[in-house]
């Protein structure tokens, strides 16, 4: 109990300190663009009503989820194929390196041409940015399956789908999760960017709309909401990762102890 309180203190100390600093530094501010934190916080409940959460936050989150999930499915599936066959890898690798180097935001105008300006476009933008870290990490993970494990599996007749499910994907899961983690932050960025460029709802749209109408404190609250959303998603991600990769952290801890 005491330990928990202490941990909670460590987690919350710095954010609280920063908020306090912000509060006092901005307290007497008369600058329109930098309103006092107090003003921002009092504006917050007025702006982020249930209605707004439903109309703007929910669509954003759904787009993010759709884009991220499809990127995960495509990235892991393609990555497994590419990682499993040396020839396929040799053919694909240069192209992948090139495509990965293209900054995803420049795809917004391109994808708009093909997918219009609706949800499809935004989901496509998010997916096309998220897919690369997932794909490349999966390739590495699948390629690095231990040779002894591979032979063990073969000698026990664990082949085909069973091998993929119980051996290859599990063995690659630490790398796949590293890719998924990178992709999550890219996804949030692209969600905002795609909504800022052209949209009629969503978090990015709301923030840019507040800015254009000089509702500056409201704009600041939007940024706070985005920060909180990112934080919440990363906490969720970590919970899932702990469950799926529990064995990996245990294995690493045990090899650290013995070496």
């Amino acid at each position: 109990m005491k330990l928990l309180a202490l941990r909670l203190f460590f987690v919350l100390a710095l954010p609280l300190l920063l908020l306090v600093a912000w509060w006092f530094a901005s307290a007497g501010s008369t600058d329109v663009y930098r309103p006092p934190l107090r003003t921002i916080l009092t504006t917050f409940p007025d702006v982020w009503t249930g209605e707004r959460l439903r109309a703007d936050v929910l669509p954003s989150v759904l787009r993010l989820l759709a884009g991220y999930t499809s990127a995960a499915v495509v990235g892991v599936a393609l990555g497994t194929v590419i990682g499993s066959y040396r020839r396929v890898r040799a053919v694909c690798e240069p192209v992948l390196e090139f495509l990965r180097a293209v900054p995803p935001p420049v795809l917004v105008p391109v994808i708009m041409l093909f997918a219009g300006i609706g949800d499809t476009m935004k989901i496509a933008v998010i997916a096309s940015g998220c897919v690369w870290p997932i794909l490349l990490n999966t390739v590495e993970g699948v390629r690095a399956v231990d040779s002894v494990m591979s032979e063990t599996a073969r000698s026990y007749g664990i082949v085909g789908a069973a091998r993929l499910r119980h051996v290859v994907l599990r063995s690659a899961s630490p790398q796949i999760f590293a890719g998924l983690r990178q992709a999550l932050s890219i996804g949030i960025i692209l969600m905002v960017i795609s909504e800022m460029s052209v949209s009629s709802n969503g978090l990015g749209y709301t923030v840019i709309q507040f800015q254009r109408t000089f509702a500056i404190p409201d704009m600041w609250t939007g940024i706070l909401v985005l920060g909180l959303l990112g934080f919440l998603l990363s906490v969720l991600f970590r919970l899932v990762e702990r469950r799926v990769l529990g064995w990996y952290h245990g294995l690493r801890a045990s090899s650290r102890r013995s070496s």
Binding site: V148, M149, T152, R154, Y156, S171, Y248, L251
Partner: protein
């Protein structure tokens, strides 16, 4: 099963004229030149040879993990092309052979799932195998929570649960400490006597080969042939304390040692194919 178990004394595993040449990037390495030997049903045969003589290559060919360049391997008179269902392998690197994302019980059970056995039967086999290696309580642990010797026990349990006709062991105890090693040797000997399985045991340790085997196959240096086949005429009842100090044990191990030294020098070997004098 499809057919009845082989009687003791019938040949279980036939290796005929096995040759394996690795070719790649302009280099041609003849790992195994010409190996011919037989392992009878219910026999425990140890393969021993100088390091780098292609023991692992041979074992992988037998297991169907490598395709021989020429020659053939017959398991119960059927040609081996790819890992046969009647074989289980215990590798030296237990840490890389057990799946760290599965608990001990799941590790033992996974190969059984491919065999279309009922859940009850699988559970029974897993419990029985873990029990017989002395790890009945460890089913819920992860392999990396166990010591090296215990991990190798899990690998042995996995092989046992698979109910193989032939159990192949590739230097299984090379990476564990001496005391654990002695325990594991006795475990393998005990399991062999209880269950009557056929075991082909590869090792570089001469004492281990003589202590465990009913027969010792001595391999030459690379390119490998069978230097000598030696019948180990020690009593079936063996233990670490007495067997290892028995005069006959010393004679046999000295003989094997000399043969391996001769093999390293590339000579024909002393009194090849003649059993050592009694």
């Amino acid at each position: 099963m499809l057919e009845e178990k082989r009687e003791k004394g019938q040949s279980m595993l036939d290796v005929r004229g096995l040759k394996k040449v690795y070719e790649g990037s302009g280099r041609r390495v003849e790992a195994v030149r010409d190996l011919t030997f037989t392992v009878d049903a219910g026999e425990l045969v140890c393969l021993v040879g100088p390091s780098g003589c292609g023991k692992t290559t041979l074992l992988k060919c037998v297991a169907g993990l490598l395709t021989p360049t020429s020659g053939e391997i017959l398991l119960e008179e059927r040609r081996v092309s790819g890992p046969p269902p009647g074989m289980a392998v215990v590798f030296q690197e237990y840490g890389r052979s057990l799946f760290p994302w599965m608990r001990v019980g799941q590790n033992v059970e996974l190969p059984l799932r491919q065999k279309q056995l009922s859940k009850a039967r699988r559970r029974e086999l897993v419990a029985d195998a873990l029990e017989s290696v002395g790890l009945a309580d460890a089913a819920g642990a992860y392999p990396w929570q166990l010591s090296g010797g215990m991990q190798q026990r899990v690998a042995i349990a996995r092989a046992l649960a698979y109910e193989p006709d032939v159990l192949l062991m590739d230097e299984p105890f090379a990476a564990v400490d001496a005391q654990t090693r002695a325990d594991l040797e006795d475990l393998v000997r005990g399991l062999w006597r209880q269950r009557g399985i056929t075991i082909l045991f590869v090792t570089h340790d001469i004492d281990e080969a003589v202590y465990l085997g009913e027969r010792v196959l001595i391999l030459s240096a690379s390119p490998t042939v069978v230097q000598e086949q030696l019948k180990v005429d020690l009593p079936a009842e063996r233990d670490q304390l007495h067997t290892r100090v028995a005069p006959r044990f010393a004679e046999l191990r000295t003989h094997v040692y000399e043969q391996i030294q001769a093999a390293k020098r590339g000579g024909p070997g002393l009194k090849a194919d003649a059993p050592p004098p009694r």
